[in-house]
Amino acid sequence: MGMATESQFHVLAVDDSLIDRKLIEKLLKNSSYQVTTVDSGSKALEFLGLHENDPNTPSVSPNSHQEVEVNLIITDYCMPGMTGYDLLKKIKESSSLRNIPVVIMSSENVPSRITRCLEEGAEEFFLKPVQISDVNRLKPHMMKAKNKDQQQENQEKQEKQDEESEETEKSEPGSQQPQQQHQQQQQQQQQSNNNKRKAIEEGLSPDRTRPRYSGLTVV
């Protein structure tokens, strides 16, 4: 299923309203995307293989690819339980999911809400009801993410080769760190960043609300 025809992008649509799910599904299908719809943020995370209970350690290890590839997530903002914003944050905090573009939809035009979502890494903010012209804006985001993924894959391949040659050549001690270790360190850093953010949210250091997004910015 994950290996559907190469040209077909797969979009995960999240909305608690059945009517809106039908609408967005039809809009996306008419643009010949493969579509999966779910009615809540937690079901979306489940579909993506990320479990809610332990937010710091994704149950999916960062190296294993998702079973079903998702090229974009489009989610309603206002949902009972986990909001679209909460879902966005969880995705951008996850090392395995953060490259998936996220688009937020909302029936209310609240500027602070829009800013908040864009700062957290959402690609677009659509006012509901979503129109065909909105859906036409999704493709570039998916293309960009796909290119980025491919670059990363190539890089990883290259790094693996480098590592192998390093092993045989015996590298100088202390010179270049093996890539894997480096990646692990980055991950640890990410986690401590997450913890920091939590502390800020709990109000322990209210003067430092700005750097909040720094760890999450997606280019």
Binding site: I19, K22, P129, Q131
Partner: protein
């Protein structure tokens, strides 16, 4: 009646629904999404809307009957109704929802009750109008014609 006459009737009737504000452009958007893969798309979405509406209106009525009215709860139902009505292009219903939400915010129980009455009225009016429209559609198809696109 021949197909041409039915089609003209359909076009005029649809136009009147837009003119009188029952429907807005979102309904046209729905019609544009309908295709041979899904020839009943508009009907399906509108049926969902009517099922949903009945539930929501009942919930609002129940919430407004309580001794101490939880306006937040009433507002949550109205918010949902506003969303679904704007998604199908039910323009007048949506407008009543906007007023209704203001009364919720002001915690104005009389205003809320008036809006609920209005919602019921607008909703059943729209329902019978759309039923007429769908019946015309069926007659056109039964007579071997195609549904004219109304802009």
């Amino acid at each position: 009646m021949d197909v041409g006459q039915l089609q003209r009737q359909f076009t005029d009737y649809t136009a009147s629904l837009f003119r009188e504000g029952f429907l807005d452009d979102q309904f046209t958007q729905l019609q544009k999404l309908q295709d041979e893969n899904n020839p009943d798309f508009v009907f399906e979405v509108v049926s969902l809307f009517f099922d949903d509406s009945e539930k929501l209106v009942n919930n609002m009525a129940k919430a407004l009957e309580q001794q101490t009215v939880e306006f937040k709860q009433v507002d949550a139902h109205v918010h949902q109704f506003k969303g679904s009505s704007s998604s199908v292009g039910a323009h007048r219903v949506k407008n009543v929802c906007v007023t209704f939400r203001n009364f919720c915010e002001q915690q104005n129980i009389e205003g809320c009750k008036r809006c609920l009455q209005q919602l019921r009225h607008e909703y059943s009016l729209l329902k019978s109008k759309l039923e007429t429209l769908f019946r015309l559609e069926q007659q056109i198809i039964a007579a071997g014609g195609s549904i004219p696109m109304v802009e």
